[in-house]
Symmetry: C2
Subunit: 113 residues, 2 copies
DNA sequence: TTTGTATACATAAGATATCTATGTATATTC
DNA sequence: GAATATACATAGATATCTTATGTATACAAA
């Protein structure tokens, strides 16, 4: 990996929920696929670095939010993640929280809301 | 001060911009007033702790974003802050950034956007 | 009269999330 | 054979915020 990405400091706190939401919407995904998909979905705005992504996935796994199955494709390993029952419950709560956060933040930074 | 506030982890990265925006909208404010005003504007959602607020104000001051004048009211000191020219420029950029962030985040967590 | 609440500032120490940097390895394109 | 893309991993640094604590005045309630 040669390309370095730059992330916004605003990211902080939202990464876990972003990952969980991607998994909710796509059933199962592997790490690299998540970064590509998030980048695409946000028109290049959100670029998740590997140093952020993999530790985050491991943490979510430790918390019991993710289920894993490994697959070898083109002689390269892929670690597929999907939401566990616990993860499915968590993603709903976290999205509600993020939407509430966005709403409150808009009340400050957006005129006429 | 006896009441302890709880902040969301989502806050991270937005505090400086929130402070600058409040100052932009209100001309000049003192620290305590900012916390009250932010809490009121967000219907109790954003509760800025003193341990977050004052260090943030000091940092923004060091960066040259703020102008200060002290005032004694009811025998209590107030430190009034207002935006410097540099702060005025910064707040515009940071709000644009936050709005772009909100937009991208919505693309992920909100269906049909 | 002292207890609690509100106002008003400040800072040290700790937690934690993310970034930077680095490492391994395979496949494909130039 | 050099660069790019795919695919994982982790140690160490950094930044931001929280928790905890401190000082001080004013006022209401008990």
């Amino acid at each position: 990996m040669y390309i370095r990405y730059m992330n916004s400091k605003l990211f902080r706190g939202t990464l876990d929920t972003i990952i969980l939401t991607m998994l909710r919407d796509n059933g199962k995904m592997y790490g690299y696929e998540i970064t590509k998909s998030v980048k695409e979905k946000t028109n290049g705005e959100f670029k998740i670095t590997e140093g952020s992504l993999y530790p985050a996935l491991h943490k979510l796994e430790r918390k019991g939010y993710l289920e894993i199955h490994l697959l070898k494709v083109d002689n390269r390993m892929r670690k597929y993640y999907s939401l566990s029952k616990k993860g499915n419950k968590a993603v709903k709560e976290e999205i509600t929280e993020i939407q509430s956060f966005i709403h409150s933040l808009s009340l400050i930074v957006n005129p006429n809301t």
